[in-house]
Symmetry: C2
Subunit: 336 residues, 2 copies
């Protein structure tokens, strides 16, 4: 691998053709693996010329010619959230395994930002768009209508025309509700995400239904709509523990639960004796840093394979992608 072009423009298929004394078509054949129609010695010559020139085929030229990209855009609410990060990492790994690159972008839970990202994404002509935690906007619905390769993760699509990968949020909410009922958490509160997030809506719905169906006299003394952050959990936790004094709180993600926990410990409450905190997601870090957190485990690392299977460019079938509903479970941690 010599220094032919230390810093000039990258070598092209033409350069390689010239150096190896063949045509560009042959070079292309070598690099696209159509090696059954090219002589072994020619392959060798092309390979070594390419090596010498430091040639790597341009995805740009390739994409233009083939009218397809190997890029997938993943839109996430907040990649610094542990759960999001795990899902994104899992997806990236699985996509790479089928030859796709992932461009990642954060919406910060902002609908306008999401819409802007959707527009930008279109410019890249991506192989697909994965949207984790979609926010229901007109633009989103428009994109669903127009786009064949759009996958929803975690939060189901507002209209059932695009595939979904995630858990059954309503059933999950129901499971938490049943747990509350079984443990006699009569007076309870719930801190949930904004109701235009489908997942939050469904979790709340399932939760309330479970309480109702339990027969017991369960009372949700406070339903709080909140950003899904530690800071918000802390603030709402402080208010909640001063005013309503619930026996248990259902937080719609673990970050909220961390915040409530801090508020609770500052108030001198013991978990779970005085206050049961129920989270959602079960971030991997919980085993290490939150041994007090009972939560609903979502298998973050299983998202990648499911998504990649849908988007695999080598997929033979032409039929539309089908939803993947992953299993959830309860992680009960009662130690202090």
């Amino acid at each position: 691998m010599s220094q032919h072009r230390i810093m000039g423009k990258p070598a092209t298929v033409h350069d390689v053709a010239r150096v190896s004394g063949v045509s560009t078509a042959t070079v292309s054949r070598v690099f696209t693996g159509k090696t059954d129609t090219v002589a072994p010695k020619t392959i060798e010559r092309v390979r070594s010329a390419a090596n010498e020139l430091g040639y790597t085929p341009s995805e740009i030229g390739r994409s233009l010619r083939l009218a397809t990209t190997r890029v997938v855009v993943m839109i996430v609410p907040d990649a610094t959230n542990n759960f999001c990060a795990d899902v994104a990492a899992s997806v990236e790994k699985s996509l790479k395994a089928v030859g796709l690159s992932m461009v990642l972008a954060n919406t910060g839970e902002d609908g306008d930002q999401q819409d802007r990202l959707l527009t930008d994404a279109a410019g890249l002509r991506p192989h697909a768009i994965i949207i984790h935690g979609a926010i229901d906007t007109p633009k989103l619905r428009e994109v669903i209508e127009k786009n064949r390769n759009l996958v929803f993760v975690s939060r189901p699509p507002p209209i059932a025309k695009a595939p979904f990968v995630g858990i059954d949020n309503e059933a999950a909410g129901f499971a938490v509700g049943r747990y509350f009922a079984e443990h006699g958490y009569q007076d309870c509160a719930v801190i949930h995400g904004q109701q235009h997030y489908s997942a939050s809506r469904l979790r709340l719905k399932g939760f309330l239904r479970a309480l109702q169906e339990s027969g017991a006299d369960m009372d949700v003394i406070r339903k709080i709509e909140s950003p899904l952050s530690m800071e918000a959990g802390y603030q709402h936790g402080l208010a909640l523990l001063s005013d309503d004094k619930p026996r248990a709180v259902f937080c719609h993600n673990d970050m909220l639960a961390y915040g409530v926990h801090r508020a609770a410990t500052e108030k001198g409450l013991r978990i779970p004796e005085n206050l049961a905190i129920f989270g959602f997601d079960d971030n991997r870090i919980n085993d290490w840093l939150a041994p007090w957190l009972t939560t609903l485990k979502v298998p973050a690392l299983d998202f990648g394979p499911a998504v990649a299977a849908m988007l695999d460019p080598n997929r033979k079938t032409r039929k539309p992608m089908e939803d993947v509903v992953l299993p959830f479970s309860l992680t009960i941690r009662e130690s202090a």
Copy 2:
């Protein structure tokens, strides 16, 4: 925005030209903002035609023509690590602000994987490659030589020919060492990353130098090379606390510290009375979940602006990028 082409190929500049009755050049002018040479009414016609067709300029065609991409590849060791996630999110946000998209890829701290990613990245003809936590391999050095737009984050480049954004690792290690000396942590241990990571090498070097220069009879009773994970911290922690029983441990990142902490609490030790644990990075989550952790704070969220300033496509100057050394600080947490 009507439904002209519900799901066909995306509209092109030619389609827009045809519908609006102008030439492709004019359409291009409108979309590249060269609006001073095109009549207002024409702009309007083009805009509405584009709207009607749902036209978004193709970055592919654009990139091919201009021989530049608006894509930046960011290679990280592990995006599920809190610190990495924060840095990546910060970088993504800042890049987007200057019109760049970020493709993210994980090496999993694997040199071969890193090298593969570097090759793949080249195919995308990215505007730049950002490498967080580089591993010193021959391929890496080759890429440094050939590539003008390569930025090192957190871990400095093995040869000083590429710009770096991060803290002064040796000074940081020194600061920790001095803290140990001041607190009389005579018998101490250090769990560090592999020595072919420049940052780990420098942190260790600074740390040892501080101990030596302190004059006190500081004794590093154990130096452990380890993966930078919670699991590894736990395992090494258990071994360390059984065998060597140090008064203090310096962990080269917070994840290690979490693991050691768990080992320590399982052994019934009190932090920091019986064992002082010193971390590195100061993940944002510490304030909420690790109030016991004294650590060296690296300003993760300041990385993005620094990197983006280097890579801004609108940057006027042609001169090479200069290193950005960010300030660090100690975060002392002594509560239990």
